[in-house]
Amino acid sequence: MIRYLRMFRAFAASEFQFEMEYRGNFYLSIFEMFLVIGTSIGAVLIMFGHTTTMNGWTLPEMIVLLGVYYLIQGGVNLVFSPSFERLMEHVRVGTLDFHLLKPVNVQFLVSTRHLRVVRAADLVLGLVVVIVGLLQVGAQIGVAQSLLFALSLFFGVMLVYSLLLGLVTLSFWFVRVENLLAIFWAFTEAGRFPVDVYPLWLRVSLSTIVPIGIAVTAPANAIAGRMDAVGVALLGAGTVLAVGIASALWRRGLKSYTGASA
């Protein structure tokens, strides 16, 4: 376990050094994130200029949700997106072999090898937004609630991870998986609003096929006290299942790549 942490630290250090070479871009990215989050908050404010609730969500609660949205995005885009982008290239070019030569779990390697460290800023910004929203809500946030929040955040990120892993694994069999990924990214936009505002068919898809909806709404519910331990446990179970299925698909893909007869 420690060994895997040390490896991850080495990956992060290496990528960070590279990003620091292009310091200008680094700071511009942070500025852009400020812009994006700022305008998103503006959008919510404009909407709530006409109402006090949206499907039962108050303004501060919506702010918290928005913060969670950027937290989840940041988490996924920090590690998994850059790593999976490279993976698809590896499969296409044939350099995946080098990963297979390493005495390390290949799924770990392809999922965490590359980072976009600047996305950590998204995490910080998202957390700030969440805290601002919570302050407005004014309720007392206990330790238990914070724990549930953290847990459901983790589950949310892992849910999105499992979907990404599943999609990327398809590139063993189909060459142009980028298109599928593009559809996925388009759908993630829907996470900026609570999943319950959408019509049923969209709500269901956003909780299962493209789980961004539930990934964002669940933690927001948790911190607002609307989701209890049982709910989080169920979410956790669903996440474990999703990751399990995606990992199994991954192993199947790898077997196919290395020519193992089924």
């Binding site: 852009e32 909407m47 006409h50 109402t51 298109n179 936009e189 609003f193 019509p199």
Partner: protein
């Protein structure tokens, strides 16, 4: 010139056939956001008893479907592609030819819109049925819409090209693009129909060109304007189009000077 365009058309249609799937995907991209905001406003409207500021749920649906169609028909991606072309060194050969690079992108743009129009209408139909839309317009709204959408598409196209010229000085214009996208997000009527925005922001919206690309044609299509208002809007669009063409000419010439100074 017509002959040139005909040739370009043929070439582009062949190229487009290769990228059918990507084209449809892009289209999906452009409809997700309006659908999301429609759902949100429907929830707001429900919380307020069925209507907000003169917009019923059905009005919202009409507006956002109109916005989807307008958004699609005014899509322009030169501000991204140009940077890519310059980096790849593909601009110089184009500059050597007697045809302004802009014309290639005109045809490209039109072809994409044509090939993806049918799937778009299908999707809009689905949305319309889901949200029970009701169209409250007159025939002359549609008549007004035709010049409006042409002006809007041209305007959006020119704005894209003006932004693209920033590549001559900045090489990487990702931040500029983001800046523009977010400004358009707020002030082009994507978050809300213009009349629902706080007054101060409305003023800004009408002073910037973005609303003239999206919100205004959408309102016309939806049937939410009087004849006088509609005609006034058309004038506004024409004015902004003229300004953008002038700005582009200026920026392009200055940019080319910069480009050849640096070394093509």
């Amino acid at each position: 010139m017509i002959r040139i365009y005909r040739q370009l058309l043929v070439a582009q249609i062949q190229a487009a056939a290769q990228y059918r799937i990507q084209a449809v995907l892009w289209m999906l991209f452009s409809i997700i956001r309006p659908v999301i905001f429609l759902a949100a406003w429907t929830a707001v409207s429900a919380a307020q008893g069925g209507s907000v500021g003169g917009y019923t749920t059905s009005d919202f649906a009409a507006y956002y479907i109109a916005l989807t169609i307008v958004g699609h028909l005014t899509t322009a991606w030169n501000s991204f592609e140009f940077e890519f072309e310059v980096r790849q060194g593909k601009l110089s050969p184009k500059l050597l030819r007697p045809l302004h690079p802009l014309h290639y992108s005109v045809v490209e743009n039109l072809i994409w819109k044509v090939t993806t129009f049918l799937p778009l209408m299908l999707v809009c139909l689905v949305i319309a049925l889901t949200f029970q839309v009701r169209w409250s317009g007159e025939w002359w709204h549609l008549a007004l819409f035709v010049p409006s959408i042409v002006l809007a598409a041209a305007l959006s196209f020119m704005i894209g090209w003006v932004v693209a010229t920033a590549t001559f000085w900045l090489q990487r214009i990702n931040t500029v693009n983001t800046l523009l996208q977010r400004t358009s997000f707020i002030f082009a009527g994507q978050i809300a129909p213009l009349s629902l925005m706080p007054t101060a922001l409305q003023v800004v919206s009408y002073s910037l060109p973005f609303a003239y690309v999206l919100a205004i044609p959408a309102e016309i299509l939806r049937g939410g304007v009087t004849l006088e208002r509609g005609l006034l809007y058309l004038v506004g669009q024409a004015v902004w189009l003229g300004l953008s063409i002038v700005a582009f000419r200026f920026a392009w010439r200055a940019g080319l000077r910069e480009y050849s100074a640096v070394g093509a």
